[in-house]
Every structure is written in structure tokens, then in C-alpha cells.
């Protein structure tokens, strides 16, 4: 279970966070949530698909990391073998939340929280959050910047998803994979861009997508399918 508390210098001056990537810190995930503003980096490493939240039924983009539950094919003894790690993975054990200010001028004020029950959190190893002089460490500044981008990325992603569903651009798909050992496997439950419908969009629809910054990530997602081959290769390599 998680135990998020608001991050503060007074409460967390001794706190350190382990940044190593490993199964024991929960990095053995089949996919990671992502958002269009990081698609450029994601598509360089991972296939981008869409999944549905079991809690709300809403779509969200994901970077596919493996084919089975708890299988991250990028994870090995020396860590996470890729040039880019999805921000939703990197953020752990932090969370950006919003405090409703009493004056209600700006409405909501961003607040960083930390999950004190996350195994990365301790007082001995890893990156300190605060310097001796009580100033935020370089690590914390880096994380804060990431969280800020995450928040913006998330807001942008909502509009992106609305546009995709309004234009019926998503479709369910099944990926059938035959591995080198002869086993047939199916990847179910994900959604992809319907390229046929994408090609049929008229100028107005395309202009609308482009104006909102949605057109480029759509094509990045389409291009990312080429990464499936690399993922299958990784899977085959593990079977040897």
C-alpha cells in the first residue's frame, strides 16, 4: 500500500531515494503510462498503444515494455536498458498533487508528495532530497521539473484522447506473435490508431488536430509500431 505525505524540508531532511531500476522496486511492469508530450522520446524505444482505465473507462497512451504481466523486457541485472525511461516510471516515489488554496485566487497550487512506504525511500542509500543548507538537492529539482512536465503532459493528453475518440481514431487490436520456440501468443486489451480512418480525415479535421498539437503525436504513435519487432527480439533472446 502507498502512504503519500506532503514533501517538506522539515519532515524529509534525512530522506533519500534509491534511483536504481530493478524488480525489487517494482519496475517489472508490462507497460507504462505515457502522454503525447513525451512521445518523441518514447517512440525511439517503445511501441505506443492505448489502454483503458479500469476505474474510469477512459483511454490513456502506454509504452509497451513486455508481453506478459510483470514482464519488463528492458529490465536486466544492470538496470533499465533503454535511452529513455517513461516519466510515469521515473516519478516514483513522488506524486504531484494540488492543494485548493483558501483564498481561491489561482484555484489550485501544486504540491509534491512522497510515498513513504515505497521501498526506494530510506535514510541510508540513494539521492538525498535536501542539501545540508536545507535547499532542495539537484535530484529533487530534477524531479520537480519532471513532475511539472508530467502535469502539463497529463492535461494535454486529456485533450488528445478526447480528439482521438471524437474522430473514432482508436480501434481495438490483437497482436499475434509466434516466438522462436514455436509458441503462439496473443496480446489483447490494447487499442491502436486506426490508420485507415486517419488517412480519410479531411483538411479541417487535420488542421484542428495540428493546431492543438495532436497531429504529430498521432504519427509518432503510428511510427512506434516498428518497435514491436525489437520487443519480440528481446523476448526471443530471453527464451534462449
Amino acid at each position: 500500500m502507498s502512504n503519500y505525505v506532503i514533501l517538506s524540508q522539515s519532515a524529509h531532511k534525512q530522506t533519500k531515494v534509491i534511483t536504481e531500476r530493478s524488480e525489487k522496486y517494482g519496475d517489472n511492469i508490462k507497460y507504462a503510462a505515457t502522454f503525447p508530450l513525451e512521445f518523441r522520446n518514447i517512440q525511439a524505444c517503445y511501441p505506443i498503444f492505448f489502454s483503458k482505465s479500469s476505474d474510469t473507462g477512459e483511454f490513456f497512451p502506454i509504452a509497451l515494455l513486455g508481453f506478459e504481466d510483470a514482464e519488463n523486457l528492458f529490465l536486466n541485472e544492470s538496470g533499465w536498458d533503454a535511452t529513455y525511461i517513461p516519466m510515469m516510471v521515473e516519478r516514483h516515489p513522488f506524486l504531484i498533487g494540488y492543494q485548493v488554496s483558501s483564498e481561491a485566487e489561482e484555484g489550485k497550487k501544486p504540491v509534491v508528495s512522497i510515498d513513504m512506504d515505497n521501498p526506494r525511500v530510506n535514510e541510508d542509500a540513494g539521492e538525498a532530497l535536501f542539501e545540508e543548507n536545507a535547499q532542495p538537492s539537484e535530484f529533487l529539482k530534477y524531479i520537480m521539473a519532471k513532475l511539472e512536465s508530467l502535469h502539463q503532459g497529463h492535461e494535454h493528453s486529456k485533450g488528445f484522447i478526447s480528439a482521438l475518440t471524437a474522430l473514432d481514431l482508436l480501434e481495438p487490436f490483437t497482436l499475434e506473435i509466434t516466438l522462436d520456440n514455436g509458441s503462439n501468443n496473443q496480446l489483447l486489451g490494447f487499442y491502436t490508431i486506426n490508420e485507415e480512418k486517419l488517412m480519410q480525415l479531411d483538411g479541417d479535421a487535420l488542421a484542428g488536430l495540428n493546431t492543438n498539437g495532436y497531429l504529430q503525436p498521432i504519427y509518432m504513435a503510428v511510427a512506434s509500431y516498428a518497435r514491436i519487432r525489437a520487443l519480440i527480439d528481446k523476448k526471443n533472446a530471453r527464451l534462449q
Binding site: 479500469s54 474510469t56 473507462g57 475518440t165 481495438p172 487499442y191
Partner: protein
């Protein structure tokens, strides 16, 4: 008068009128003033006559019906106070005590190939029939929803229909029909019916829109049956000798807490001379008592209804209840399509809502009209003949099936239940089935048509829910050992699937709140 059938006039709004309009207009391209292009559908609705608003329960078929009309299921939930209906739970029908059985919408597990009824006989003392063969009875008795928020619209984890607010539903359909499907809405009172030389209806005269001509008139005027009954004099065939209920007392009852659980099935509780329906909408419950005026007084029926409300919703709710009385002659018209006039809804007949047959008959009637819309006046008589045959057959099956619920009772505590078991009140067609079922469980062979309203599984749920005994085969079959093995495996599979659904499905209320907030996805 033009020979082709292009102009359809529906007389009467309400759910029957607007549902018919939507079904027909979804099949045929129509637009205002499009007669030149071939087809026009207009609906004349009196601004002065309130709709009766019967039929708050639907069959699963309504999902396909709405989807074909291009309606968003999310919008439908948000606009019509809709909740999920997964079947009916019958209380007190068998012995008049704590006895209870379920009739779920989902067929028994792997029903297309396996008849589990025979194998259930050997374990009947340990597990109820519905629980043994299908997960749904346990789901709805725990007020769970039939799907998740991530399940696409109209798709399901287990089969479902709806409970809805009939008044809101008619308004919702009207808006959709007019704005999206090109149905012409005329708000006017019909003052006269004008005959053509051949005896057809040429037009109707209205108080504010003059005469409205048409090639086909659909009578959705409710129990008054203005065109088929009053104008053409097609008589009502009473079924009161078989199904006694001819009155209903209806009330709307608020939840004690707005977030109280919502039933995921219709509750039907037997009374001394009738039964009480209890339908949970998100905003309120619809509770009513349908009874036989030959067996109970209005005061007696009212007291039973108020007792039920007091027990299930509190004394205050009973004290506040405003009760509306509806009387009806159970039965149907001798035929439904006469000349160029066809009746849909209460104008064609009405019977107690025991299996929510009202709206599904509207769907079936309008669908047949939409699909077989006569190309011209000459062929209309043949289409009418086929329509009449089909719907007379359907009415007979409905009556048989409703009567089945009564003849299996062991209650002898009132004249009503005793009279219901009198041989003279049981149709021959039903009696024959009952005789057969003593020796063999209902199965696909028992139904004559591919588009039968009640599959043999429905008979199984009622029969074995009400403790009916089918004797096992007197001779041993060569396949016995194998089928018994398969049946036991299917019972186990069903138990496993039930547990899995019990832990993964949200409650009816939770899912409806999520639909309000997030909506369903189309895929």
C-alpha cells in the same frame, strides 16, 4: 391516392409512438419534406393527452434497438433515469412464504449444446437452478452491475436490459427522432379520420394542422385505440379468463438516502390476489400492485401495496405515497394490421407487466414494419396478413408464458391462486407443454420459430425456480455417462465464473455514477 407506400403517419406519442418512429426512421432515410425523395415519417401527438408511462422495464433487445437508432448509451443513461436490469426475482410465488427464485436474462452456461436442467435434478436440493447454471442471479441479488465502466457501450459481461423513466424516455426519443432521424413532429389533436374510396384511411383531420395524408397509419394512441379499435372496430380479444389481473395501483417511492443501492433486477412479490413490482431507478423506485378486481377490492390491494412500501422503504414513504390507479382489460385486438392501419403498443393490446412484454412488443412490431415496409398498396395486404399471424402467435406465447408463472404455484391461501390453477383457465398449448415437461426438460425442440420471444431456457428458469419436477429418463441412455461428466464440469465452470464476476463487477449504483461522470467508450 398514390400507390406506393411513402408517407407514414404515426398517431400518438408516448414510448410506443416515439420508439416506433425511431426504429422505422433508423431503417429508412427520411428528411423533412422529402416525399419527393421517397419517404416521410410524421408523428402526430396530442399536446393535451398525458402519456400513461407504462413499461419501465425492457428486455436486452432494447440495446440493439437503441444502438441501431444511433443513440449513445451514455446519453440514454444520463437523460432517462436508466438503471441496469438483469432479470426478475420472484418472491412468494411458489408457496407464499420466503420462497424466491430468479429468472436471469443470461442463458444457462453453454446452452446452445448442453441441457443442464436434467443434470441439475440430481443436485436440486443443494443449489437453486439459476445459481447452478448461470452467474447472473447471484450478481443481481448482490445489486451488482452487468458490466464495468471499461466495457464498451451496449457490450456486456452478462446480458442486460434496462429500467427507465418512461416519460423521460419518450421525451428523449422525440428529440432524437426529430433532430437526428428527420421525423416530422406535429403537435395537434386528431379530430376526424377520413376514409378513402377503397376503405383505407386517406387522412386524419387535426385541430391545428389541417388534414394529414398518409399511405400507412400507425395507431399508437394507447388503450383507446383510436384508429384500429374505434375507427375500424377491430374488437379486443379478452384474456381475462386466463390472466386475471385487470387493475394496477402505481406509486413512485423515493430512496431513503439518495445513494441507497439500486436493484439490478425487477422484484416481483406475490400478494393475495396479484403481485407487486418494484423497479429501482437511480432517482426513485417505481412500485406498483397489479391485481384482479374479481379477487380483491381496491382498498385491499392498496393496503397490501402500502404494507410493502412501509416494509421496504419506511412508514414515511408509505404515508407520502401518491397512488395512481390504472384499469385494463387484459387481451389484444383480434388483429393488429387492418387495411392501411397497424396498431403498436397499448392500442394493440395490454397485459400485466409480469415479463415486461409491452416495450419489447413495440420493438418487434416496429422492426417488422421497418424491415418489411410494403413497397406498394397491393402487397400491403400480404404483409399485413403475415404481421397478424406472427403477432397473434407472439401474443399466445406471451400468454402461455405468463400463465406458467401462476399454474406452478402451490399456494392455496386465496381464491385467486386456486382459480389460477383451474384447468379451464389454462390454454391447451400450455397444458400440453406442462404434460411433456413432466418427462423431459424444456429444450430447443420446444420452440417452433427461430425468432421466438421466449427461448426454452426461460421456461426452465420458471419451472425449476418454482420446484417443478421433471422425471429423469426411465431408460438409461448410452450417452448418460459422458453428458453427466460434461454437466458437472459446466457447473464447476459456472461457479468459478460467478466468483470471478462477483469480485470484479461494481454495484449498479457505482457504475451508474461513473457513467454520469465518465461515460462509456464506444469501443
Amino acid at each position: 391516392m398514390s400507390n406506393s407506400v411513402n408517407r407514414i403517419v404515426i398517431v400518438g406519442g408516448g414510448t410506443a409512438g416515439w420508439l416506433s418512429a425511431g426504429i422505422i426512421a433508423a431503417e429508412h432515410y427520411s428528411a423533412e419534406n422529402s416525399v419527393s425523395e421517397g419517404f416521410q415519417l410524421c408523428l402526430v401527438e396530442s399536446p393535451d393527452i398525458p402519456t400513461i408511462g407504462v413499461g419501465e422495464g425492457t428486455w436486452p433487445s432494447m440495446r440493439t434497438t437503441l444502438q441501431k437508432m444511433g443513440i449513445s448509451e451514455t446519453e440514454f443513461f444520463r437523460e432517462c433515469s436508466v438503471s441496469f436490469k438483469q432479470g426478475t426475482q420472484f418472491h412468494g410465488w411458489t408457496i407464499g412464504g420466503e420462497d424466491s427464485y430468479a429468472h436471469p436474462f443470461t442463458l444457462p452456461h453453454k446452452y446452445s449444446e448442453n441441457n443442464l436442467a436434467a443434470h441439475w435434478q440430481s443436485v436440486r436440493d443443494q443449489v437453486k437452478f439459476a445459481d447452478a447454471v448461470c452467474p447472473q442471479s447471484r450478481l443481481f441479488n448482490n445489486k451488482l452491475a452487468p458490466k464495468n465502466i471499461a466495457t464498451p457501450e451496449y457490450a456486456c459481461n452478462v446480458n442486460y436490459g434496462y429500467h427507465l423513466d418512461a416519460g423521460k424516455f419518450a421525451d428523449f426519443l422525440r428529440k432524437h427522432c426529430v433532430e437526428k432521424l428527420g421525423v416530422v413532429h406535429i403537435s395537434a389533436n386528431m379530430t376526424a379520420v377520413n376514409s378513402a374510396d377503397n376503405g383505407d384511411i386517406a387522412s386524419i383531420t387535426t385541430d391545428s394542422h389541417g388534414a394529414i395524408e398518409g399511405d400507412l397509419f400507425i395507431d399508437c394512441s394507447g388503450s383507446r385505440s383510436l384508429l384500429l379499435g374505434e375507427y375500424y372496430g377491430i374488437p379486443l380479444v379478452s384474456k381475462s379468463h386466463c390472466l386475471f389481473n385487470n387493475c394496477a395501483l402505481a406509486a413512485q417511492v423515493p430512496y431513503q438516502d439518495p445513494e441507497d443501492p439500486i436493484q439490478s433486477c425487477t422484484l416481483s412479490t406475490a400478494q393475495s390476489a396479484g403481485w407487486i413490482w418494484d423497479i429501482g431507478l437511480p432517482s426513485r423506485r417505481g412500485i406498483g400492485h397489479t391485481y384482479s378486481s374479481d379477487h380483491n377490492t381496491e382498498d385491499g390491494a392498496r393496503t397490501e401495496l402500502l404494507n410493502y412500501i412501509a416494509t421496504t422503504a419506511g412508514e414515511q414513504a408509505a404515508a407520502d405515497a401518491s397512488i395512481r390507479k390504472i384499469t385494463f382489460d387484459p387481451g389484444h385486438r383480434a388483429k393488429f394490421w387492418h387495411r392501411n392501419c397497424v396498431a403498436i403498443g397499448m392500442s394493440s393490446g395490454f397485459i400485466e407487466p409480469l415479463e415486461a412484454s409491452a416495450l419489447v412488443l413495440v420493438e418487434l412490431s416496429a422492426t417488422m414494419i421497418a424491415e418489411q415496409l410494403p413497397a406498394n398498396r397491393q402487397i400491403m395486404d400480404l404483409v399485413a396478413k403475415r404481421f397478424n399471424n406472427k403477432f397473434l402467435y407472439r401474443w399466445d406465447r406471451i400468454i402461455d408464458f405468463l400463465k406458467l408463472h401462476y399454474v406452478l404455484t402451490q399456494r392455496r391461501d386465496s381464491e385467486y391462486w386456486i382459480d389460477n390453477c383451474a384447468a379451464s383457465s389454462i390454454p391447451d398449448s400450455l397444458q400440453e407443454l406442462l404434460d411433456i415437461w413432466r418427462y423431459q426438460a424444456p429444450w430447443h425442440r420446444d420452440t417452433n420459430h427461430i425468432d421466438e420471444m421466449f427461448p426454452s431456457a426461460s421456461f426452465q428458469y420458471v419451472l425449476y425456480g418454482m420446484d417443478f419436477c421433471t422425471q429423469t429418463n426411465p431408460t438409461r441412455r448410452r450417452s448418460d455417462r459422458e453428458t453427466a461428466k460434461v454437466a458437472m464440469a459446466l457447473f464447476r465452470e459456472n461457479a468459478k465464473r460467478t466468483e470471478q464476476l462477483m469480485t470484479s463487477l461494481p454495484t449498479n449504483r457505482e457504475l451508474i455514477n461513473k457513467i454520469y461522470k465518465y461515460g462509456f467508450q464506444k469501443i
